[in-house]
């Protein structure tokens, strides 16, 4: 029989990592929807965000929560710069979407090389902890037999990460649904030509989308640095893959769908780890990816994206 403590841990892990995955999917979806660019380098931007927080903390003793706004600004500017450097050239390609895939794959290799060059190939433990380290969320009576109580302990870092993510997601939802620039970004996912017809400079809007997605990746990296034991320069591909699963599940070009899909995937991942052998648990993500493509190619929330 499953331990109640383990089930609670899986639920909490599902929520914490689910909102992280939601953020990854949301930023990937902004890019896919507005620019028709599948960002193969997204995971590397996330790892770069983790290293950004690591460097600020170890080098300048800057608290990771203070690194968040700094990271957002630096990555937003870098993302806009990268857009103008790379993406407009894709317009000259006969197959811009395929070219974008290859281009961003090249960027991912470049980022891995830069991070390995600066931080070396070793994984880096991020030796930062909140006080107290853990919070007792729930006491379980007779968890391990009669008279042996257990506790559901949650690392404070996970609760902080959850709270930060929740604030960011609420902020993003407000931005996309309540502000004109946010509506313009959503409009670009619905009809890119019409956005130009109403007089919006498509390059400005696209560079904003690229900057926003890069900033979100960086922020995700800072948050991940709090909840994972170490940072690996080669670990970006895992997050890119998770991002792809989330946007396929939520619907390509549907930022809000990605939020729900991320949380769904977070739960599936945590409970797979709890219920299945490790090798089988790792396959669940791929099974979801393939199943959604076959059964509902537009995703759970998507209605298709107009060209």
């Amino acid at each position: 029989m499953l331990s109640e403590v383990l089930v609670w841990n899986a639920i909490i892990g599902g929520i914490v990592f689910g909102v992280v995955y939601a953020l990854i999917g949301c930023s990937l979806n902004v890019l896919a929807g507005v620019l028709r660019v599948i960002n193969f380098a997204h995971g590397e931007f996330i790892i770069a965000g983790s290293f950004f927080a690591y460097a600020l903390y170890t080098g300048l003793a800057i608290h990771p929560l203070l690194a968040l706004p700094l990271c957002a600004v630096v990555f937003f500017v870098a993302g806009r710069g990268l857009y103008y450097l790379l993406v407009p050239r894709l317009a000259h390609s006969d197959e811009p979407e395929t070219s974008s895939f290859l281009l961003m794959f090249g960027v991912s290799l470049m980022l891995v090389a830069i991070m390995t060059w600066i931080f070396e190939a070793d994984i880096r433990p991020f030796n930062f902890s909140f006080e107290p380290i853990n919070v007792t969320l729930y006491k379980v009576e007779n968890a391990y037999g009669e008279g042996r109580h257990g506790r559901v302990l949650v690392p404070t870092a996970r609760l902080v990460a959850l709270a930060v993510n929740a604030v960011i997601i609420v902020g993003l939802t407000w931005f996309f649904y309540r502000t004109l620039p946010g509506k313009a970004l959503r409009a670009a996912t619905m009809n890119r030509e019409a956005v130009q017809i109403v007089g919006i400079n498509i390059h400005q809007l696209s560079s904003t989308a690229f900057g926003l997605a890069t900033a979100l990746a960086g922020i995700t990296g800072v948050i991940l640095a709090l909840v994972v034991p170490s940072i690996d320069p080669n670990g970006g591909a895992d997050f890119t893959l998770i991002g792809f699963i989330v946007i396929v599940l939520g619907g390509l070009g549907h930022p809000v769908g990605a939020l729900f899909a991320g949380i769904i995937f977070g739960f599936v991942e945590q409970f797979s780890n709890l219920l299945l052998p490790q090798a089988a648990a790792q396959m669940v993500g791929f099974i979801i990816l393939v199943a959604v493509i076959f059964v509902r190619p537009t995703g759970l929330f998507g209605k298709g994206v107009s060209k």
């Binding site: 004109l180 619905m190 030509e193 130009q196 017809i197 109403v198 007089g199």
Partner: protein, 267 residues
């Protein structure tokens, strides 16, 4: 221009504003060549004049380059040769947002609404160019809601759930919300019920009286000729004829050309 061009014919649809010749030229395409992908050329030396507060019609068989002509005027395509002149400025290849800033708007043939945004949000995005002037935005919205009362009733409705005719009114309203000098209309009544089409044509015909110059591409030859002050016939991206409504009804060669190419007999 072709040899058939007649510059001194009487005015067509908007003779109340004075003749075609009396009006100032506000937009010109001069020997324009344009292509979508490298070597597939759609416009092959197109020339036409658009005159102030007049309706300029463009007709021609499928694939003649009518829609491409409008897209090139609006900056979606950059001419590989020739020039596009707005007023006295060469604006060839300027992007759409620049054309909007110069008082030109465009309603394409295909639906151009943001289906998952409300009618009001669609119109607000039409005000993007002056979005920081809140007072001007609100005044512009109220003006459009006054012109199209049905849109005022449906302001909170998702655009994608409107009927085809109502969607077209949103597109027209969104184009007019910026108080343009020139509006480019591509097949404004395509796939629209006849009753609504008549309303749309009445609306278009009245635009010059509001100081708005119209360029109208239409497959509906009768309506296009009826409302236009000057009609250009295109084929394979070139001029094949032009004339006022009256010239169309008297010139046997034009009549034959239209009858042969467009399967339409001018009375």
């Amino acid at each position: 221009m072709t040899a058939m061009a007649e510059k001194n014919g009487p005015s067509g649809g908007n003779s109340a504003n004075g003749g075609w010749e009396a009006a100032a030229t506000v937009l010109e395409m001069r020997d324009v060549h344009a292509a979508y992908h490298g070597d597939i050329s759609i416009l092959n030396g197109l020339s036409l004049s658009v005159k102030e507060n007049r309706i300029t019609g463009i007709i021609g068989p499928n694939g003649a380059g009518k829609s491409t002509a409008l897209k090139t005027m609006y900056g979606f395509l950059k001419p590989s040769r020739g020039s596009i002149v707005l007023g006295d400025e060469d604006i060839s290849g300027r992007p759409p947002y620049d054309m909007m800033a110069r008082g030109v708007t465009f309603v394409p043939q295909n639906r151009s609404l943001f289906n998952e945004l409300t009618v009001e949000d669609n119109l607000r995005l039409g005000c993007w160019h002056f979005r920081r002037d809140k007072g001007k935005v609100e005044a512009a919205l109220e003006r459009v809601f006054g012109q199209f009362p049905i849109l005022a009733e449906r302001r909170d409705t998702l655009a994608g759930s409107l009927s085809g005719g109502q969607q077209r009114f949103v597109e027209l309203g969104r184009a007019l919300v910026v108080e343009p000098k020139i509006i480019l209309l591509d097949e404004p009544t395509a796939m629209i019920a006849p009753r609504i089409s008549r309303e749309i044509y009445d609306f278009i015909e009245a635009l010059p009286e509001s100081g708005i110059t119209v360029v109208l591409v239409d497959q509906n030859v009768r309506q296009c000729v009826n409302v236009s002050d000057m009609v250009y016939i295109l084929d394979l991206g070139r001029n094949r004829g032009e004339g006022t409504k009256e010239k169309f009804s008297h010139d046997d060669h034009l009549k034959e050309m239209v009858a042969e190419w467009l399967d339409y007999q001018i009375d």
